[in-house]
Amino acid sequence: MSIQSRREWLFNAFYGLGGLTLAAKMPGGGVFATPALADALVDPLAPKPPHFTPKVKSVIWLHMDGAPSTLDLYDYKPELIKLAGQEVPPSFLQGLKTSTQGGVGKLFVSNRTWKQYGESGAWFSDLLPNLAQHADKIAFIKSSTTIGATHDISILKLNTGDTSPGRPSLGAWITYALGSANPDLPAYVVLYSGKKEPQGGSVNWSSGFLPAIYQGTAFRPGNSPILNLAHPELISTAEQRDDLDLLKRLNDHSASFHPEDTELQARLRSYELAYRMESTAPEAVDLSKEADATKKLYGLDEDITRDYGTNLLRARRLVERQVRFIQVVSGPIGEGDVQNWDAHRELEKNHGPHAAAVDKPIAGLLADLKQRGLLDTTLVVWTSEFGRTSYGQSGNGRDHNPWGYTQWLAGGGVKAGTAFGETDEIGLQSVGKKVDTYDLHATVLQLLGLDHLKTIYLRAGRAERPTVVYGEVVKDLLA
């Protein structure tokens, strides 16, 4: 057969009848060609019903990396101001294992002014003037506690509930339990500031012992947010479309020998999803169509807020696209000592810019979500691995404090304009009912319609749950 006649024969064989009937003509191929069947395939990310009616659909998890001093943001302590410069009265230190040589430093106050805001009268320092305007949207947890003396193990605990690596992160549990509401995007996205992933990063959005499909996908800065999202430089979109059509024909053919095999069919479908993701993911993070006023609201017009504001505006767009869990890690500002909130010294020089970097964007996010009617179905969690001590370190900084610090929730199902729990008079240790990371996780799951005790994964014969063997929903935080 000459080349020419072979071509004619092929065209007659396949294209003479029109492209749509193509699959049906292929031996075995027709069985799997219709979309209805594709949906019936086993998909570990298929949406799954919650245990009860959820209050929110998405969570934005704002991790303040390096641990801010919530004593200088929300936890107003007149007694601390009074005692500043004095030794810590021993009664306050009872039961604490401290890491400072020859006794802890003297009680320390930074140069703050404090005011009450909103009908709730919540206290804010001058470091958060914009967020303060949203006082009545917030439910504070003022008696947060955790364990650990170093960032990495406490960050791990904040995200996974354990101080050693290996457990799934909260976002992974949620993705496992609820599946994805939008197959064209990852259900669990991580946004970070700066050029590099946060140090030790991926273990904090890992799926641990859950299948890898439930892990967070770190979105990269720039307009191609996922690794390998863009096709190779020399391949055009039209070319790739052809390739995928060929791939489908080959896979349909081989699947016809294994009609029982849903996994092979799922793989076929994954390529179509990937192809869609090539356009949906860049679109999801493309801010060019956002109004100038919106960009301004998030602080995209100023250097100090642009990086974090960009991430929060991206977060809102991901919420609109039904992404379940968006983990936003605050990042470096400039070089050297202002990498994160870890102000062992020169608290003023550290917290000034770090607070400024997040204050307006978070305020903007809350306002924007509210305005778009999304705040009722979204949960915003402001959180950190621990807080900072009431006593000073290196003269003008503060050390790590896992015993008492503030975090907050805002959004659907949250008892807005309230505060739960408290610290002692100098803001060092929580007193009364404490909220550990497990309790926070249980509460977040509750708002998503999940009972943390019934969110179970069987692993090596053990029924694992997100809160390990701990955790209690903080009902006082719920509306």
């Binding site: 071509r7 092929l10 064989a13 292929m26 069947l37 019936a40 086993v42 570990p44 401290t98 003396a149 170093t150 990495d152 050693s164 690596p165 290996g166 339990a177 050029k195 590099k196 992933e197 140090q199 030790g200 991926s202 641990g208 299948p211 890898a212 499909i213 990269r220 720039g222 191609s224 390998n228 190779p232 020399l234 391949i235 039209a238 070319e239 390739d243 791939l247 080959l250 896979n251 053919h253 081989s254 294994h258 029982e260 095999d261 799922a266 994954s270 990937a274 993701m277 290196s394 003008n396 005790l453 019934k454 179970i456 994964y457 090596a460 014969g461 053990r462 029924a463 063997v469 209690e472």
Partner: protein
């Protein structure tokens, strides 16, 4: 569409049905009791008091079967007996080309070459299969493949993990030990003994000492300020790893509370921990000089020479404050760590010794500099003096200068090794039962002992002059022929690798909550044989590879599917998605690019530019390193290698018992768009043209021979030829954009002329075929 049971099985395999079916603890206040652990332990009528896997091992009789000619090995009789009970026939033998692809992938983790396929297919001798299997088991690729599976269990990594995730420069030596052990066919018993107690068995023998890297592989954070907690976490990691990887038990659950289903008590658990109470990690022991070490020394000498002056000046600056700096550093540990740190050495207990050794092991020059910085940088700091400030400024300047020479440092390897040791002391720190697993709440002291539910044997501990002897005693019990678990657990793991499912499908849990065995007699037969053969691993592989059950076709059968929808009885050979490493390594083979060097320091192949991993992923300058097998790719705990990670590679944080199979768009993106993968498709296209010439059908045949060990069938040919025609138009239109940029095959012979458009079409065809299911699955 019929909702097949296969769907349900697939869902169950990754735990999906669990959320719906499990009932759980609804008393949140009961904080320390894992009631959820009961969820899977439904009472069953015939459950013996002990779970199956814990009962003493008794070799079963080989069952009688009707279809005697199907029985090539005793394994087949056990399988066939169950099939005949169900009225099922086994599947016919798979054709030889599919068999060799299957066996080569399973034994080596690589696809065979067309020449290997041809030789086997045309071998008419009566022992063709035996020859093939013996060839596979004799290759170093066998050891590489088996080692990968063991390293999953050993939570192997080249870095420490946690926030800073430092490189652990010696760990590759443990990886090579494992590869060599499999290639030398070291008995499994000896393999376990060396990994648990190599330092006690063969003091001073580097090769054996390195084996204790199994214990030393825990994730670690060197900057932890709580050394007491660190000791507890390290011992916990080691105990749980041994419990799961070797014993196949979830004894680790008994750390916080008595085990809910398996009758392990907290006392059992901490008695196991006690075997490791005196175990410390020792790094930086000078290694025997080989090529790697000499090259490392040579490169290091360059850096040493170039930076001598700078470092001398730094030492001069540090010297007067060194004592102060060390004290300052030590004072920053937590209260109970400080109690050991500041105790005079003459008063040290075994516990203090551990803490102080740990302190030494993690204290570096940088910690001294830390003091200088604190004392010199900030006027408000109580340590501040103008003199210190000046000293710090000078020191900082020198540090910046020093950094410029970093590129002279050796890019890989080491001249040292790591081992576990008892630091020359036979006395161990005490071990306590800890209330709720909290190390600050010790209860009764315990002595090393085996779990009483497993055995009434008592450990025979013989201290040496330099070590407690505890780990040797534990290792001896683990590999004792009387131990009911060790052999069963290991042969079941091997079975799991061949048949995609273990005889006990919960491969690391042989307890009551684990799954029941599908063929308990077969498992006991294999375990008994394994022990009788003195733990001969290759013999075990050989028997499986030569069995009829392994030789069956994987073609779908209505009757088998109807009678046994989960294919538990193995009437059909189960197809399997290739593991992450098999996919990448086979691509390297197909592209003709595999660098099959065995062993040596880990390498860094290229990663997507927007990974931004910086200094944590310094891409290897030697491009030959990019084509090494995946087992040699650096395992950075915080940055899983992005080419493998989407394909369910092992997590290196804890024992990884079994590879999941998930199917995700991120996998598709990786194989479609990753530049490295695409360049391999280009190289494969070049190889095909090189080897098949310009005839299209010959090219398609060659491509399929390389990738699938067969020729394309008629339908495939038709599909592929149609693509060559239609795609030419797409490429032509693109090429007309004025830039004429198309992807062409790599590695054509200089004399070969080609039409660039046709060549680009062929590259795309190859890339699509590489992405097809037939490549990623082994049937």
């Amino acid at each position: 569409m019929k909702k097949t049971l296969k769907n349900v099985a697939l869902a169950a395999a990754i735990g999906l049905s669990a959320a719906a079916s499990a009932t759980a603890d609804d008393k949140p206040s009961d904080k320390l009791v894992d009631k959820a652990g009961d969820a899977d332990a439904k009472p069953q009528n015939q459950t013996p008091r002990l779970p199956y896997g814990w009962l003493p091992l008794v070799e079963p009789a080989t069952p009688e079967v009707a279809q005697k000619d199907w029985v090539r090995t005793p394994i087949d009789a056990f399988i066939l007996a169950k099939l005949e009970d169900k009225g099922l026939k086994p599947s016919p033998d798979v054709d030889r080309s599919a068999f060799i692809r299957r066996a080569t992938l399973d034994a080596w983790g690589l696809i065979p070459t067309p020449e290997e396929v041809e030789a086997f297919v045309s071998d008419t001798g009566p022992d063709a299969y035996e020859k093939l299997v013996d060839r596979l088991l004799a290759s170093p690729h066998y050891g590489e493949r088996q080692a990968r599976q063991w390293l999953d269990l050993a939570r192997y990594a080249d870095s420490a993990g946690f926030q800073t995730d430092q490189t652990r420069p010696d760990m590759w030596r443990y990886r090579d030990y494992v590869i060599n052990a499999f290639n030398e066919n070291k008995p499994y018993s000896r393999f376990i003994q060396e990994q648990l107690a190599g330092d006690e068995l063969a003091p001073g023998n580097q090769e054996i000492l390195v084996a204790t890297g199994f214990l030393a592989g825990y994730p670690d954070n060197y900057n932890s300020r709580d050394l007491v907690q660190r000791k507890y976490q390290i011992t916990t990691d080691i105990t749980d790893t041994v419990g799961q990887a070797i014993l196949g038990t979830t004894v680790g659950c008994a750390r916080c509370h008595n085990h809910k289903t398996d009758k392990f008590s907290q006392k059992d658990y901490y008695s196991l921990q006690a075997f490791f109470a005196n175990t410390s990690e020792v790094d930086g022991i000078p290694a025997a000089k080989g090529d790697v070490e000499s090259e490392y020394d040579r490169q290091w000498a360059k850096w040493d020479e170039a930076t001598k002056d700078i470092r001398f000046q730094q030492a001069v600056l540090i010297a007067p404050v060194k004592d102060k700096a060390l004290k300052y550093h030590k004072e920053r540990y937590l209260t109970d760590s400080r109690a050991s740190i500041f105790k005079p050495q003459s008063e040290w207990t075994a516990f203090d010794r551990w803490i102080n050794h740990r302190l030494d092991n993690v204290t570096t020059e940088r910690d001294f500099a830390g003091y200088l910085q604190d004392a010199g940088d900030h006027k408000e700091n109580p340590e501040y003096t103008p003199e210190a400030a000046e000293r710090w400024q000078e020191y900082k300047k020198l540090s910046e200068e020093l950094k410029k020479f970093d590129k002279l440092k050796p890019a890989k390897g080491s001249n040292t090794y790591t081992t576990m040791s008892e630091l020359g002391h036979p006395d161990s720190p005490p071990t306590y039962i800890l209330s709720g697993g909290n190390h600050e709440k010790p209860l009764d002291e315990v002595q090393p002992a085996f779990p009483v539910v497993l055995t009434d044997e008592k450990p025979v501990i013989e201290p040496t002059a330099t070590s407690s002897g505890r780990r040797t005693a534990l290792a001896n019990w683990l590999v004792s022929p009387k131990n009911p678990l060790t052999a069963r657990v290991y042969v079941n793991r091997i079975w799991n690798n061949y048949f995609a499912k273990g005889i006990v499908s919960t491969v690391s849990d042989f307890g009551k909550a684990g799954d029941k065995p599908t063929h308990p007699e077969l498992l006991d037969y294999l375990a008994s044989e394994f022990i009788k053969s003195e733990f001969d691993i290759k013999k075990l592989h050989r028997q499986i590879l030569l069995s009829s059950v392994y030789r069956q076709s994987s073609a779908f059968r209505d009757d088998a599917h109807a009678a046994d929808p989960d294919n538990k009885l193995l009437a059909v050979f189960p197809r399997k998605r290739m593991e992450a490493e098999e996919i990448r390594d086979s691509l390297l083979v197909a592209a003709g690019k595999l660098n099959d060097k065995v062993g040596g320091p880990s390498v860094f192949p290229p990663v997507p530019a927007n990974l931004d991993a910086g200094a944590l992923w310094p891409v290897s300058k030697d491009t030959q390193d990019h084509y090494r097998r995946s087992i040699y790719v650096f395992t950075r705990r915080s940055i899983p290698y992005p080419l493998l990670q989407p394909f369910d590679m092992a997590s290196s944080q804890q024992v990884h018992s079994k590879r999941d199979v998930t199917t995700t768009p991120l996998q598709a993106l990786t194989l479609l768009n990753n530049d490295f993968v695409f360049s391999l498709s280009q190289a494969l296209a070049g190889r095909v043209i090189r080897e098949a010439g310009n005839d299209q059908l010959a090219q398609l045949n060659r491509l399929y021979q390389i990738l699938f060990a067969r020729n394309p069938d008629e339908t495939e040919k038709t599909i592929l030829l149609a693509f060559l025609i239609t795609h030419e138009k797409t490429i032509f239109e693109k090429a007309n954009d004025g830039k004429f940029s198309v992807a062409i095959p790599i590695g054509l012979k200089g004399t070969q002329t080609f039409n660039p458009i046709e060549a680009a079409v062929f590259v795309d065809l190859v890339h699509a075929v590489v992405n097809s299911n037939d490549f990623t699955y082994r049937f």
